[in-house]
Symmetry: C2
Subunit: 258 residues, 2 copies
Amino acid sequence: VNPPVAPWDDRGLLLGDGLFETLLWVDGQIRCLDAHLARLTAGCRTLGLPAPDLEAAARLCRAAPGEAGLEGGRAAVRLTLTAGSGGRGLDRPAAPAIRLVARAAAATPITTPADLVLARTRRNEGSPAARLKTLSYLDNVLARAEALAAGVDEAVMLNNRGELACAAAANLFWIVDDALFTPALSCGVLNGIVRARVLAKAAALGVETRVVATGVAALEGAQAAFLTNSLIGVRPVRRFEGRSYAPHGLIARLAVGI
Amino acid sequence: VNPPVAPWDDRGLLLGDGLFETLLWVDGQIRCLDAHLARLTAGCRTLGLPAPDLEAAARLCRAAPGEAGLEGGRAAVRLTLTAGSGGRGLDRPAAPAIRLVARAAAATPITTPADLVLARTRRNEGSPAARLKTLSYLDNVLARAEALAAGVDEAVMLNNRGELACAAAANLFWIVDDALFTPALSCGVLNGIVRARVLAKAAALGVETRVVATGVAALEGAQAAFLTNSLIGVRPVRRFEGRSYAPHGLIARLAVGI
């Protein structure tokens, strides 16, 4: 059973010391649960935290929709892992006791293309945390707020070298001459589960895929672009700043079954 | 009265969306309370959060040592401000209701000089959050963990441009030819309250002060170095990587009354 409250000495709350996963639940089934739990475990290793009990984590995720009163349809399940309770200051206890909680909320599918702006807030390519879904997500919150302030859906984030990284809550792809491009993880990019699936599917379709470190001009010069995450799947981009993109057949082909 | 728990829908817990202050309490008095509350208010403005009720914040801070069973001596009071409860995802509610909590812990003075290493984890100079004490503090946690793993006290963080920024939980100063140097806020540096007091005191003493953007060689070539924060005040540095520093009279002069 998922607890309703956390103590104020939780390091997730005090320091953003922890990780999360956002999972799609459709009609009683969680999509890609094993991939999410594997990524969470790998993230714990990177951050120096103990690995979660995967059976317990799966149980909490499966219980969350019912606890939220959802009986069917489509929901987002957020699994949160914190470094647990700790004393004052930055240092973790000698043996951190991680805390796991899942919560669910109804999630209607998004069927419209996305309009994007360029965020002023940058990704921190110099931190391992920029490649993880951590509880220190304020840069993403700020980038998204920039998008909402501009009246659009999402914001494209560059890193401090000026390289394209991702959107506030999605990975970024674009298409040039029927080749598929996406930023390299080393640019400060979350290792997205749908990102990996799209890259694998493109390769299986015989599409040329290029994982790159490049500036914003590449996106401005693209024929088409799209976003991915576990909730939206594949979402076409309609506009980015002054640039408009037409629908592209490759996006539809990649979206099938993702 | 400070609450013992937070709900799991708190955006501080889920997304690191919030700020904190660490205040020094000595024998019933909080040091520089107004300066801390002014910085907290300024941080809320930067993050787009409503300003806190300063009377309520001061009351919570003053209550915290007693709630922790402390009757006198020296304590750290941590005041935490979160963006409050929210729905799923990155977007804040239309009218965020911020949450304020203070907690205290006994804090013995540190009287030894600090040994430092260079952190691999970088500061995100491209985010306004790098100049604030935010709840998204994982990069600082990781840098500190690097220091502990190396058997030393603190880690010096560079930004992605390779410029000196700060330590994991302190501002950084160094001395060359009796001039005082510290990194500029634009390098991704917290606007430390003791940092500002030290700069003002140095100017009042007629010491040349230089706020700079420069690489790690400047620290390696310095005659002396020290750290500052509200708990340690002014703490001399003994070693940084392979470099040792002798005690320096200017550090002792700057520390008086800080």
